[in-house]
Every structure is written in structure tokens, then in C-alpha cells.
């Protein structure tokens, strides 16, 4: 028997892709439940979700990716899920890895499983500048928490019941992925990556736009360092 699993799909203006993503998840892994979190989309994403009759949360105010994903974790906690997987609504993340991710949790090999596109360097690899930024953050995370990661910005990850609770209570805002790793690691979570092939996003744009990259790197680095300082005290 597989862990009772919820796939959380944050969606902001994903009218082009959301239907396809949902159908892919349902056919790749029919035994999991899925929850789309519509982050106050300005397009007709909500109508599509209503038509497809999939379970979804409709945030009345746009919260950004962190707040949207956290709403999903809160739902998972309220409904007693044993595992939760976040998967972007834009088609970057291939649902065929879902069962492998859940199995890794199930075997007790890890508490958080991250899908990394850099372990086997296959598929869409992002631009050179971005890869350099990600490598820097990977090292910083290693330094601050001892966790070895290769793709700390990947939003494709599975977490155990214990970490569902952690994230439901406290999840970073803005650019949450790298911070969330450190946060869980300092609480003792074992983090493991599995190689995945990511596709180039079909629509929309990355939440990390070039103009914001300086802000992004500064904010995330500082947040990680602060977590480390706070973690020592705890």
C-alpha cells in the first residue's frame, strides 16, 4: 500500500498548461490525490479547474508561490496526508517521477526528496548564469546545513508527514525553495535528490526574472544565513 499522498500544484495564470498537467498526473499516478492551488490567477484558470472537477483551493488574494504552496501543505495536514509532493503547474515537472519519489519516502530513505535536473544533466538545463547562481546557493546550503544538493531551486519535491506539519506551520515567502531545504534540514530532516529530466516551461515565465536576480540571490543567501544563526540557538 502506498502512502496516502497529495500532489500540490500551485498555479498562477496557467490556463494554457494546467489541464494537461492535471491529466498527466492522473494518468501517471492515479492512486494519488491532487490539489491545485489557484493563486488568484487573472486568467480563467479557476474556470478550467471548476470544469475539470478537480479539487482546488482558490486563494482570494495573490500570495506568491510560497503562500500558495503553504496553503497546499495546510490542506495536506488537515486531511491527514502521509506524503505531499509539490509539482509546478506549468508543465516543467514530469509526473512520471511521482511514484519513485513517494517510494523513496516510503522506504524511509529520506524525509524530503527533491527532483534534480543536474544530477544526470539531462533535459532542460537553464541558462549558464542561472546555473552558476544555483551552484552558489547549493554550496551555501551545504555550508550552513551540511546537506548536499545539486538543484536547490527545484520546486519538484516530495515531503514526509513530519515535514508537511513543519511547512504548514512555517514556510518561507517569496523565493521559498532553497530556504525550505535548510529549514527542514536544521530540524533533522534527511534530504535526498533523485535525477529527473525537466522540460522547458511551456508557458508563463520563471518567477525569477533577470532584473530580480540580484535581489533574489541576496535575499535567499541572507535568509539561509539567518536560518543557520537561528538554528544554532534552538
Amino acid at each position: 500500500m502506498m502512502l496516502k499522498t497529495l500532489v500540490i500544484i500551485p498555479a498562477f495564470n496557467e490556463r494554457e498548461c494546467i489541464e494537461n498537467t492535471i491529466k498527466e498526473v492522473q494518468s501517471a499516478c492515479p492512486e494519488v490525490d491532487l490539489l491545485v492551488v489557484n493563486d488568484c490567477s487573472e486568467d480563467d484558470t479557476a474556470d478550467i479547474l471548476r470544469r475539470l472537477r478537480v479539487p482546488f483551493l482558490d486563494l482570494p488574494v495573490n500570495l506568491g508561490i510560497g503562500g500558495a504552496v503553504q496553503a497546499g501543505y495546510r490542506y495536506a495536514l488537515e486531511n491527514g496526508y502521509e506524503a505531499a509532493i509539490q509539482l509546478d503547474g506549468d508543465g516543467q515537472h514530469d509526473p512520471r517521477y511521482l511514484s519513485e519519489m513517494v517510494k523513496t519516502l516510503e522506504n524511509g530513505d529520506a524525509d524530503i526528496v527533491i527532483g534534480s535536473r543536474f544530477l544526470e544533466k539531462e533535459g532542460f538545463q537553464s541558462s549558464g548564469a542561472r546555473r552558476a547562481g544555483i551552484r552558489f546557493l547549493d554550496r551555501l546550503i551545504g555550508l550552513c546545513s551540511g546537506v548536499v544538493v545539486t538543484d536547490c531551486t527545484s520546486g519538484f519535491r516530495a515531503v514526509s508527514a513530519e515535514n508537511i506539519r513543519l511547512y504548514a506551520e512555517d514556510y518561507p515567502v517569496d523565493y521559498p525553495e532553497p530556504e525550505a531545504i535548510v529549514q527542514a534540514a536544521l530540524k533533522g530532516a534527511r534530504i535526498r535528490e533523485i535525477p529527473v529530466v525537466m522540460r522547458e516551461r511551456k508557458t508563463g515565465s520563471s518567477s525569477i526574472r533577470p532584473l530580480h536576480s540580484v535581489y533574489y540571490m541576496t535575499k535567499v543567501s541572507l535568509a539561509i544565513l539567518l536560518l543557520r544563526l537561528g538554528g544554532k540557538r534552538a
Binding site: 492551488v37 482546488f56 483551493l57 482558490d58 486563494l59 496553503a71 495546510r74 490542506y75
Partner: protein, 122 residues
């Protein structure tokens, strides 16, 4: 400090207090966040009435020029107020985020209950 200057400053401070009290009465300002402005005004008033206090205070900090001392203190005070505002904004955005999520979770439950009851009526 000349008496005229002292009087006009006191008048200005009274206007300052009147404005704060007016907003408090109209409830567009809550007392919790206004306290710091009231205390600041009180300090200004005291220093206007007894300017020698100011002179001594400024010397204590090793500032030569009185006016420079006054400006530095003002600047520091205003910085503190702005920082406390940033802290209030941060706390509020946390609360708004939590409320937004809670609303969405409840809305989903209501939506599903309505779907079920509609189904029964058919």
C-alpha cells in the same frame, strides 16, 4: 532661545498633539501604534520648555554644535519609528497570508458541501 521662538514652537507642538488626538478620536489611528508619536511629542515639548536639558544632553554625547545634536536625535527617532512601522507591516502580511489560506480552505469545504447538497436535490 528667544521667548518668541519658544512660544511658536510650543504652539506647533500643540497643533501636533491636536492632530494626533483628532485622528485617535476619529479612530483612523489606533492608540497602540500612536503611543510612540505621543511620547515623541512629549519629549519635544519638554525640550522646548527647558532648552538647557537639550544643551546638556547634546554635550553628554560629545556633539559640539547644539543644532547638529538636535538633528541627529531627530533623525534617529524617525528611523526608529520607521523601523517599527516595517515590523508592523511584516507582522500584518504574515497574518494576511494566514487568513487568505484559511479562507481558501474554508471556501473549498463550502463549495464541496454545496455540490453535495445540490446533488441530493436533483
Amino acid at each position: 532661545m528667544s521667548l518668541t521662538l519658544q512660544l511658536s514652537m510650543i504652539a506647533a507642538e500643540l497643533i501636533y498633539f491636536a492632530v494626533i488626538l483628532y485622528f485617535l478620536k476619529k479612530k483612523t489611528l489606533s492608540l497602540k501604534y500612536t503611543l510612540i508619536w505621543l511620547i515623541g511629542g512629549l519629549v519635544m515639548l519638554i525640550l522646548t520648555i527647558w532648552p538647557m536639558l537639550m544643551v546638556r544632553l547634546v554635550r553628554l554625547f560629545g556633539v559640539q554644535d547644539q543644532m547638529n545634536g538636535l538633528f541627529s536625535m531627530l533623525f534617529f527617532f524617525i528611523l526608529m519609528i520607521i523601523m517599527s512601522l516595517t515590523s508592523i507591516v511584516s507582522k500584518q502580511s504574515d497574518k494576511i497570508r494566514s487568513l487568505t489560506q484559511e479562507t481558501a480552505l474554508l471556501e473549498k469545504r463550502i463549495r464541496e458541501m454545496e455540490d453535495i447538497s445540490e446533488g441530493k436535490n436533483d
